[in-house]
Symmetry: C2
Subunit: 126 residues, 2 copies
């Protein structure tokens, strides 16, 4: 796993607290294999395709029209929790990775941004 996490100063970048955060985030990427840093990084075409697939579902089509969108929204949120790093639960905790980063921003007192990551899996097709 290669991960880029930005803070504002070299001073913070060198602190144990920040470096522990980066390690924790890298372990999260290694273990839970997210595909995107944040929801807005999902390619529009992929998001549309996912939405269309959910809408086409037979069980959904049997529901009243006025609640279908709500159901699909719920299913999309569930999908985000799988593929989006910041929406994933952190370890087996109640908080998300986004919550963890937000807490660190508060305790460290500098903005922190997970910018990108790359994950290689063994035996993965290229």
């Amino acid at each position: 796993v290669l991960i880029e996490v930005n803070c504002e100063t070299d001073f913070v970048a060198r602190t144990d607290d920040f470096q522990k955060l980066v390690r924790d985030l890298a372990m999260q990427v290694a273990g839970l294999a997210p595909l995107y840093v944040d929801i807005d990084r999902i390619p529009a075409a992929e998001l549309e395709a996912k939405k269309a697939a959910l809408l086409a579902d037979n069980a959904l089509q049997a529901k009243p029209e006025n609640i279908r969108e709500k159901i699909v929204d719920g299913q999309l949120n569930k999908w985000f929790k799988e593929v989006v790093l910041l929406e994933q639960p952190f370890r087996d905790e109640d908080r998300t990775v986004r919550d963890l980063v937000t807490e660190k921003i508060a305790t460290i007192g500098e903005n922190i941004r997970v910018r990108r990551f790359t994950r290689y899996a063994l035996g993965e097709e290229l």
Copy 2:
């Protein structure tokens, strides 16, 4: 830098010799910022665009037609030595990275393949 280098057995993967090769290759990627592992990994459209740009050059158009292709081939080879990891000179040595890998295959006695790499640069646009 994240780099994947494949060999055939776990035994070789754990040797100092192989691990030194992987570190050397990672340093090469860090320092010389290649874009592709090998020539055949350059996207066809990019290779065509590069060729077209070289062919459109005024100085080239002033040369006799029968030698233009040779000149462009030479310029392409020069470009490969910049953007293709295996074609780059290894450090300041006469051998290329491909030569280095080939030598290691001979001394280690197992096939070795540089499969992919990812390089993050500071301040790089996404």
